[in-house]
């Protein structure tokens, strides 16, 4: 298998990825974040802040492994989680312990809770099929904040607007790949055409299984296995249950079942009207 790749083949491979870097034909783009390649260097986090000129999130020591930014938010659009667990990776000889990293990001959900909830239409779906918040439209109602099943988007104290990963819309426009993917030294963050990424991801999982890493699986790549969001444009390769990475096991775009509430409102409202009329007429009887 891959172990016997010739130097030539590797070069070929490199060529392909290099081409992918720049070919940003307007088409479904996304991220495949392979946590088994992540070394927790946080270059993605910093590159994102640098490119988007985001402020720091406070200088607080958390005491939680090497994670001091703790979560995605209005000014942290890439966040690297550090999971210390008392379980060995099936392919590692390092005692009953392993340290997992995951560079989390907005999932650019195929069905996006934030977008659907936005009353101003500030959140749009771009030609790259990414979910983008137009800062000049957002009025800071904060509804998207509660409507993201991943707790990604947040409102910034100082300027009152909601912010999150833009999938580097500006860079994509200029035929560049996102800053975080560009900075990632180990290609743990892979950016490209969604379909190709899904292909790559599936072969990678098979490869890992062959090597004996049975625990490896994909999260969010398959709309059928994550109906609530109809699939994620930024999906992940994980080796532990989603909860360990602070990812929801079965997320859902809230609007998906809004119908039930609207129905309940309809009946209830009818009831209210009936009651009103009833009590009005009742009061006419003397």
């Amino acid at each position: 298998m891959s172990a016997t790749l010739t130097a030539g083949e590797v070069v070929e491979l490199e060529k392909r990825t290099a081409r992918e870097d720049t070919q940003n034909r307007a088409s479904r783009k996304g991220f495949f974040t392979d946590t088994t390649l992540c070394i927790g260097c946080k270059a993605c986090e910093v590159a994102c802040k640098q490119w988007n000129q985001l402020p720091d999130d406070g200088l607080l020591f958390s005491g939680l492994s090497y994670d001091n930014t703790l979560e995605l938010g209005a000014s942290t659009w890439r966040h690297v989680a550090f999971i210390e667990r008392p379980v060995a990776l099936s392919t590692q000889d390092a005692g009953a312990f392993s340290w997992l990293f995951n560079s989390d990001v907005c999932k650019h959900c195929a069905r996006a809770g934030c977008l659907e909830s936005c009353p101003t239409g500030a959140i749009i779906r771009t030609e790259f099929d990414s979910v983008f918040v137009q800062p000049d439209i957002c009025n800071g109602c904060g509804y998207c904040v509660m409507s993201c099943p991943f707790g990604v988007i947040d409102r910034r104290e100082d300027d009152g607007r909601a912010w999150k990963c833009t999938l580097c819309y500006d860079r994509l426009k200029a035929d560049m790949q996102p800053a975080c993917a560009k900075a990632c030294p180990t290609d743990s963050i892979k950016f490209g055409d969604l379909e190709e990424l899904r292909e790559t991801a599936r072969t990678r999982v098979e490869q890992l299984h062959e090597k004996g890493m049975q625990e490896a699986y994909l999260y969010g790549d398959d709309p059928n296995r994550q109906p609530g969001t109809e699939g994620l444009n930024a999906f992940f390769l994980l080796v532990e249950k989603p909860e360990a990475y602070n990812l929801p096991p079965d997320p859902i775009a809230p609007a998906k079942h809004a119908g039930e509430s609207w129905k309940s409102l309809a009946f209830g409202a009818a009831g209210l009207i009936a009651l009103a009329i009833g009590s009005a007429f009742a009061s006419t009887r003397r």
Binding site: V11, L37, C41, A43, K49, D56, F61, A94, G95, D187
Partner: protein, 849 residues
Amino acid sequence: MAECHPVGFRWVMKAKERGATIIHIDPRFTRTSAVADVHVPIRAGSDIAFLGGVIRYIIENERYFKEYVVNYTNAAAIVNERFEDSELHDGIFGGWDAEKGEYDAKQWMYEGVDGDPHKHPREPIRAKESDPTLQNPRCVFQILKHHFARYTPEMVEETCGVPARLLLKVAEELCRNSGRERTSAFCYAVGWTQHTTGVQYIRTACIIQALLGNMGRPGGGILALRGHASIQGSTDIPTLYNLLPGYLPMPRAKVDHDFKTYNDLNVSPTGWWGEFRKYSVSLLKAWYGDAATAENDYCFRYLPAMTSDHSHMNTVADMADGKVKGYFVMGENPVVGTVNGALHREGLRALEWLVVRDFQLIETAEFWRDAPEIHRGEIRPQDIGTEVFFFPAATHTEKDGTFTNTQRLLQWHHKAVEPPGDCRSELDFIFKLGQRLKKLYADSPDPKDRPILDMTWDYSVHGPTNDPDAEAVLREINGYTVADGKVVDGFTSLKDDGSTACGCWIYSGCFKDGVNQTMRRKPHWEQNWVASEWAWAWPHNRRTLYNRASADPEGKPWSERKAYVWWDEAEQKWTGHDDPDFITKPPSYRPPADARGKDAISGIDPFLLQSDGKAWLFAPNGLKDGPLPVHYEPQESLVENSLHGQQCNPLRMEWRRKDNPYHQPYHDPRFPYSLTTYRLTEHHTAGGMSRWLSWLSELQPEAFCEVSPELAQETGLQNGGWATIRSARGEIESRVLVTNRMRPLRVRGREIHQIGMPYHWSNKGIVTGDCPNELFPFVADPNVSIMETKAISVSIEPGRRSRERRFITSGPLVEQLPEHAEERDLPGTHRKHTTGHTHETESAKEGNT
């Protein structure tokens, strides 16, 4: 490596994707361990024992690459019968000179070679006799075998706290992955070097790689992962006191009386250093131009000469003793970065003047008003006489120049923006300083001022601020023919008759054909996989050194898979994917007995910088502390040396002074735990480049120490709480991170605890904290005088430190026990305070990688 060389680690991960096995040997479970296949938690300071165990495994099980070992190493060489192994003397090699407190290295020489360059300058250091069967009890191989015979898996477990199972696994993995078809590589950095035995750590790895045939071959080697972006460059064209460009030694007062003596002592009778004179002459021509003539020894006398060891810690100690007037600090933050910060500040306070060039007002520039002793009111700024000059520096994005990376690759970087305000590059500063000095001495008749006046100092300038042209400097470094100023195409064109000038022979060729080769940016998919057209590597754009070893003695590749360079019978020349690092002669060439210099290298001597062209399993000269590595404990250990009575490296450099007290060698009741220090990906060294930057600071905002749950249990430390850590030198506080990544080890029947602590913080910047270097003593390796930062003994307890005291300035923190020096050294091996080494070894590099 993932922590400190994340970008380089890209290739490790690529290799892993292709099936490579990653082994990580580290006291802590780090980001590297997280992605490694095997993690070996080892006791800090005990690697020689571990690697020794690997060597024993290779030899006992005959897993070495026989053909390679016999032909390409000095395994067969017969050694002087006077040689006595350290195993015979409880950890000391024969030939200890109690007078000098040093070894008489001649006892380690090859049979029939005297080895005294003063008596026999033209004597080649190459074996007179050898035994290709490797059976002769006095051949290097047998000596090696017996030397490491006691490094059994059990002994390794005893010494390193590493289960025998793991040692065997690592050894077997290495053997399995070495040979004709496969190669293994070692990567190391300061986890291996910053010990009182640092150099011998690397020697041990060299022995393994030579035995397994992993040198000079693709995918093999020992990769020194260097430090600062161009720290490799600053050893090639050194900022080191004892070297001139291209690893030519700095002249020594009292020894190198004149140019002839200097060359005689350094020109190697055999091997590539036979070319030495060409390089020394060309260097002087580059520096002193027309003034340098054969008649005046090419101005050799202009060069400063060393009177003694002027390495960093010696200089600082001298400062503290008022022997140093002024001090330039450019691109360094020593009061944070160097051990015993308090002693360092003591030194700065005793200066007349200090020049600091940096981006920020770092601790070193602010020592006079923002330092622990100042805050405690023990020292008052108004009482400090030092005049401090601060110059704002330009960053690498604000200036043209090259970086020389870990792979000896010179890569040009272009100025992207003008430096703001008064910020200037080093080049600009030094150039203009030189101009002013020349002006100052312009009409001085005094001969002692000639060096300044005769110095060539004529780089073209450009831009609004008249910056010197960096490319002009690179040209000079590349070298040119004096007559017409045409650039030479490589060091092979350099002459020793003054007709060529060259600023650094190993860099010669970087400006080949008048083209700045370091600017080349051809992507690797548009060329062969060695990618020789990306930037430029010294020497001669070779990507792998000693690559002749990638072919068998007949000159054929050891295997198709590992083909790299080979002898082309038809063309009658060496060829391959890379530039052959070898002489032009065929594999069959055997030098006549009287051959000298590079002609003395035979067709099967790949290691052409060595006087005998062989990889040295056994080092007949060049090292102060022995021809073979021996396991010694750190200066301050938790345990007794399990292999022999000699506890520590007998030649370690000590500074015995009241402001640099040492703990007991082991079992010091006051300091029951071991402390090791290191880096975090999120910060850079002493912090000047990260502690002022919010994006990095938020990622690791506070100084912290890492302890195992067991140690937290034992000492009552709380995760996220405070700890106070103490040594006889000082007392610091930090946050506590309790983590399973730190693990207690069982050593000699005891459970020992190691504390880990990054050293990035100090008292300036947007995030601050105490620096562990307040705890470390001055103590160093004898060969390259690198400090020991990876293992000392300390105490730790919950809570914050006292605001009043710190030892150096305010008297003992701990009651001073009689310090049992004798327990460090066997009787008769004691050495006086070592400032002021004599200079018997040729090239020494200072250790910070």
